[in-house]
């Protein structure tokens, strides 16, 4: 059995499962900060109730994110040991920074956020909310830095490993690895800023559509209506801005991809032959015949997006040797899925914003149903974007640099007319896998992950369903007196020990009833 293929499948399975949760916590973290700030400013208890409700769901997502995140960190070593040896010196710093700064910040202040409603004052609680949101954004920063370095390496040099002052030679070959030369160049490598902003915008879309979905469900079921409408309006503003921003950030990112990984962009667009770039709207790329079947294209559309000029030549896959080309089908399809869904988000949020301005938004039941389901689109768009980015990077796990002539064409080998990558500066995926593991071992672990993740997913759905049906706490009768009440009660209460990480509202509820 092919260990490389199996290890790639396992990585895809585990990372795609894991990536259901961090975007939710990152996106929802910002919403929690907003609700906390509004509560402090207005003292309106509805904001506090909303914050408490969304915090419970946030904690649930966070717990599963941690459990599935450990797997990701271990897998670099278990399945990709050759890769770990090559990049550890560079990649490791980012990962260690993530552990020390982001994870401890998140999990430390999360305890205050979840269990500390009555233990600390509103301002301290708001501070903790900010720290948790910051921690979750921090963790995305470091992991995107590490991934961007694989796409566009910088701030390092590939040097022989030294043993006792001499280059280390095994089986007649000098052992090479990437070593850091400039930490900030690694952090701000050519693709970090564009990719990080696009990833965060994707997370904001996911978080806001998640809240829109649950709020729309309550509005349709006529439950907790005042709470749901306020959550919906807040999340809608956030979702509209994020959807529009995704379009612009995606556009700039595509330009960077063309400069740094032209083969990847050619795969996204199914651009087989160098020449005018047409923008294919529909179609099915066929690698055998180097064409797109059933192609409906905007002539010169791709050239225009890249150069603001309908006729300029775009480098195609024909500039690359066969063994250097990424697969086309999967990046082409997932890239289109992401963009199509992005356009849908813009349309549906603008329409809803318009109706909200007209004051008829919540009467449109069909639109509420659209929002209930649209969160699945947000999940799919986030996943599809990553599939395009990672499959498009193949056959490399660390992409070597490309060089350009002044006339905007790629530097090619004069004999073959193809790009000659400097193999020493990159690492092929086939060379990155652990040499000591067997296909049987990998197959066994894929089955194990399949089983345990199905279980984990089931737990998540059941607990989430339970929480949604339970709904937010009832609104206290004396509106506007919330702040005084909380200050008074803070001294009298202490958090119960019977609370689980995801179930913490018993104290509040008992008090509200009394």
């Amino acid at each position: 059995m092919d260990v490389v293929l199996l290890s790639r499948l396992q990585f895809a399975l585990t990372v795609m499962f894991h990536y259901l949760y961090p975007p939710l916590t990152i996106g929802m973290g910002v919403v929690l900060v907003y609700l906390g700030a509004r509560y402090i400013r207005t003292g309106d208890p509805l904001y506090r109730i909303a914050q408490q409700f969304w915090t419970r769901i946030f904690a649930l997502n966070f717990a599963i994110g941690v459990a599935s995140g450990i797997v990701m960190e271990f897998q670099f070593g278990t399945n990709w040991s050759a890769y770990s040896r090559f990049v550890g010196d560079v990649f490791g710093s980012a990962l260690a920074a993530e552990g020390i700064f982001a994870f401890f910040l998140e999990s430390g202040f999360l305890a205050v956020l979840v269990f500390g409603w009555d233990r600390v004052g509103p301002k301290m609680h708001f501070f903790s909310t900010c720290m948790v949101a910051l921690g979750s954004i921090f963790s995305s920063v470091w992991i995107v830095v590490a991934n961007s370095w694989q796409q566009t390496p910088a701030g390092h040099e590939v040097v022989p490993m030294m043993r006792d002052g001499q280059p280390w030679i095994v089986n007649g070959e000098v052992v090479m690895r990437a070593q850091i030369t400039n930490f900030w160049e690694v952090v701000f490598n050519p693709s970090t800023v564009n990719r990080l902003s696009h990833v965060l915008i994707g997370c904001f879309i996911m978080g806001s559509f998640f809240i829109l979905s649950i709020s729309a469900y309550y509005i349709l079921k006529k439950q907790h209506v005042e709470f749901a409408k306020r959550s919906f309006r807040g999340a809608l503003i956030f979702a509209t801005i994020a959807s529009l921003a995704a379009l612009f950030s995606g556009h700039f990112q595509a330009k960077t991809v063309y400069q740094t990984q032209p083969a990847k962009l050619a795969a996204f667009e199914g651009h087989f032959e160098t020449g005018r770039g047409d923008l294919s709207v529909f179609g099915l790329p066929d690698v055998q015949s180097q064409t797109i079947k059933g192609d409906v294209a905007i002539p010169g559309g791709l050239s225009f997006l890249l150069f603001e000029n309908f006729s300029q030549s775009v480098e195609g896959l024909d500039k690359f040797r066969k063994e250097d080309r990424p697969p086309v089908m999967l990046p082409f399809a997932s890239y289109r899925l992401m963009i199509g869904l992005g356009m849908f988000f813009i349309a549906v949020t603008l329409l809803a914003s318009f109706l909200a301005w007209r004051g008829t938004l919540f009467d449109k039941r069909w639109l509420m149903w659209v929002f209930v389901i649209a969160v699945l689109g947000a999940v799919a768009a986030n996943q599809a974007g990553w599939v395009a980015a990672e499959v498009g990077r193949q056959p490399w796990v660390v992409h070597p640099p490309v060089h350009w002539n002044d006339d905007g064409s790629l530097v090619v080998d004069p004999d073959t007319g193809k790009v000659a990558y400097d193999e020493t500066q990159g690492l092929r995926t086939v060379d990155a896998v652990s040499p000591v593991i067997s296909g049987e071992q990998t197959l066994g672990s894929i089955i194990m992950f399949g089983l345990i993740y199905s279980l984990l997913f089931l737990v998540w759905i059941i607990v989430l369903n339970h929480k949604i049906h339970k709904g937010p706490d009832p609104i206290p009768l004396a509106r506007g007196s919330g702040r005084a009440k909380d200050v008074m009660d803070t001294a009298a209460r202490r958090p119960g020990h019977g609370d689980s990480l995801t179930d913490t509202w018993m104290m509040q509820e008992a008090d509200d009833e009394s």
Binding site: S81, A96, A97, G99, F103, V175, V436, H497, G498
Partner: protein
Amino acid sequence: MNHDTLCILWFGIMGVLLIGYAILDGFDLGVGILHPFVPRSDEDRRVFINAIGPLWDGNEVWLVTFGGALFAMFPEAYATLFSGFYTAFMALLFCLILRAVSMEFRGKFGAGAWRRVWDTTFFLGSAGVPLLFGVAAGTIMKGIPLDERGEYAGALLDQITPYSLLVGFMTVSLFAMHGSIFLYLKTEGDLQKRVHRYVWRTFGLFLVLYLITTMFTLVEVPAAVENFKQFQWLWIVPVLNVLAIANIPRALFQGRPFYAFISSSCSIAAFVFLFAAALFPNMVRAADPAAEGLTIYHAASSSKTLTIGLMMVLFGMPCVLAYTLAIYWTFRGKVKLGDHSY
């Protein structure tokens, strides 16, 4: 600082991270190991789970940080160990996720068979983690076959020997004892009395396994005491360890369980220290005594990366310790069950 100093410093920091993980996750794993034996009613079982409910997640972050730091600072050791012990690590991940799922799942539906299934998986997951860590530690102590590139060159079953299994079971009994003392602090009434009996039983079991393991190590693993011949002052650590272990029954007799908990924590720290001292300067010891192992100097990243990491630790670790203390302070005292507990 020169490269060798940085390597030794980082070897020490890895030890601190491992001690932090073993003490903190040690007691919540121990609670899981005792879970099928001590409680008589479903309510007792819920008290057990809720004693660790808010804490276990944060405890596991220590393991995540240990893994990240090993990748960053000793990538050669990380790659050799994680790929060489592939099946063991997959089993470890399985156990860690299984017990998290079990804790969340068991309370969601009524009593009966449903809860018994999840109680069993909770026990298996909790016992599996220390068993795997112990077996791995035993295997590393004896040394593993390495090829010229520093890759693991043995078979899967080489990792399971009588010695490594012995270390595995000793680790399970150590965490069970540690967890029982923690539970003694967290429970009251009849349940506390039953926990008290188990503190003695687990202590007895641990003591027997500890003595056998010590003798076995001295006979079977001569390399383990090499460093103790060279650096005589190291003997103070096993001596302190024996004192810490002896202080556990003393503190219990005096009715001061918190001191017993501190003593078992110190004992865990001493075990990690002894393990590190026996390995030094190897990160991975070669099975063949004549062959060169993977030393910390050969396994380490460049001086630049070690320095960057050191700055992160100097800035980050005080914050981490402050959060950890704050959380444990917030959740001090006896367990009280509520409507929405696990």
